[in-house]
């Protein structure tokens, strides 16, 4: 199953000739999620063939223009495609008033917009799908801002085929093992035998996860909240030369981002939200890689894939 992030926009506040404002799409299986929606997001979706028809959920980190100015055009375009199914938008307080004032000026769309106002001081589940759970967690920025953690749900255990044959397991017993419980059989002589789950069942795969962290100044709890995440997108507005500025503007340097990835035990880090003052991003990448080697630069159209992780059948 696909689990991949695509960068649609890697710029911070001011876009450049090659960098669009913040926007990413995340594909998990057949589901498509949009995370932040900077100006031009819909054009980038068209350019990189992100299917509009599969977009049902948009997650907005905060209400700064470079993260939401693409929303109005996208909402309008989705209306023109004949969309009738609801569009879910997860965003901090204030989004309702913003959308209301836009629709007051430009008219209502024909489909329903279901607004989920995110409000939390600790990580909280904001959306749940069959195989996926999405948690919001607060970031430290100049206005109310949230990060989002996308995590595959813990799968039901699989029972080894060889065990089914060897032990002549009944459907009920297989169900018991799949739930992670041991099977207890009472023999005809009244003695009991235990078929241990850990010997007969295994996790078919390890749940994958992605954390989106933009915009934020660094703070200790962040790495705890996204511990063990496979892929982290973290803003890196500045290199270390502008560390002081990063603090006054509540942003991060690429070193800050790398430290978060290291502490969280992530497998891969994607940097983004680059200040327009950096023509070349080599410095940001170099500084981060000294701390966390598996660091990459977000770049428009680039895809960061999290491959399926099959658990070793360690229980057998």
């Amino acid at each position: 199953m696909e689990f991949s992030l695509m960068t649609l926009g890697s710029a911070s506040a001011r876009p450049t000739s090659s960098r669009f404002p913040s926007a990413h799409s995340l594909t998990v299986g057949g589901r498509l999620f949009l995370i932040d929606c900077g100006e031009g997001c819909q054009m980038q979706m068209a350019r990189f063939k992100v299917p509009f028809s599969r977009l049902d959920n948009i997650f907005i980190s905060h209400l700064h223009g470079d993260h939401v100015f693409g929303l109005f055009g996208l909402i309008s375009t989705l209306d023109m495609t004949g969309r009738l199914s609801p569009l879910h938008i997860y965003a901090p307080d204030g989004m309702k008033e913003l959308l209301d004032s836009i629709s007051e000026h430009f008219g209502q769309v024909k489909y329903e917009i279901v607004l989920h106002t995110v409000r939390c001081k600790e990580p909280v589940t904001v959306a749940e799908f069959k195989n996926l759970e999405i948690r919001a967690f607060p970031l430290r920025h100049r206005i109310e801002t949230y990060g989002y953690l996308f995590r595959e749900k813990e799968p039901a255990l699989n029972v080894m085929k060889s065990a089914v044959t060897a032990h002549k397991l009944s459907l009920e017993e297989i169900g018991t093992l799949k739930r992670g419980e041991d099977v207890i059989r009472t023999l005809s002589d009244g003695t009991r035998t235990v078929l241990k789950c850990e010997d007969l069942a295994y996790r078919p795969f390890e749940p994958r996860s992605f954390a989106y962290c933009s915009d934020t100044a660094p703070f200790p709890k962040l790495q705890e909240w996204i511990k063990g995440t496979d892929l982290i997108y973290h803003e890196a507005t500045y290199a270390s030369d502008l560390r002081a500025l990063s603090r006054t503007t509540s942003h991060s340097t690429s070193e800050d981002a790398a430290k978060v990835a290291l502490s969280a035990g992530a497998k891969k880090l994607v940097l983004g939200h680059f200040s327009s003052r950096y023509r070349s991003l080599d410095l940001l990448l170099d500084e981060a890689r000294k701390i966390f080697p598996e660091t990459f630069l977000a770049q428009e159209g680039m895809i960061f894939d999290i491959p399926e992780k099959t658990s070793p059948k360690k229980f057998l």
Copy 2:
């Protein structure tokens, strides 16, 4: 002196992978004007090196999203560049409320936005610069919409150098001729001689003009209002196959646009505002060229130049 139009966006309501929503820049001498500001306009300006610092005047045809959704990001970016000089926006009624609600959500910018509300039933001058006059005229669309006519002012006449010498013209007499008046000399014997302006002076150049017509259904007065315009940008949302649709949506076909250019006696026509359903625009171009051969397609980054026109020195 430069007088050139650049296409920043050629799409109608729904952008495509290569066409951005409506936006054009017009350069006249050192002045830069933006006409409509669809989503992504600022990225296109950056891409095609349109200098943000020279932008003082924006003309908006109407308040449909595909003509204004780029304004919020652009206004914000101009603020980040440290702009302090006022930005003039010419737009129909409703722009004030729209800008007010955006600044309520995203904060005030540090420079002044001077809003000029356009409201007219006949062509009217809305802005005047040293060498240039800009007139607004109403279009026929679903909401209040205006076109804009940019026209160099009539220059003062030049007096032939040979005439100055031959007639030993005084500064006062030269001034008289420059104003287009004849010089009347009273000789010592009381007789009068007339030095005719048309014999001694000439127009240094013919004023150039550009008319922007989007969005609109065709109507007879339009060609009168833009009579003699050198370059016309006219919307051509559809080819003739969708003429009926063009009427119900208050748009034009490329044939409609060509007829306007022909009737107005234009030198060149640029078609734009293309429906996303047309991958190839050949049909639109072909249909228009049958009526008005000097037709061209707007395409992102393309420049349409109006060369200087020196008048023949016919007065001598």
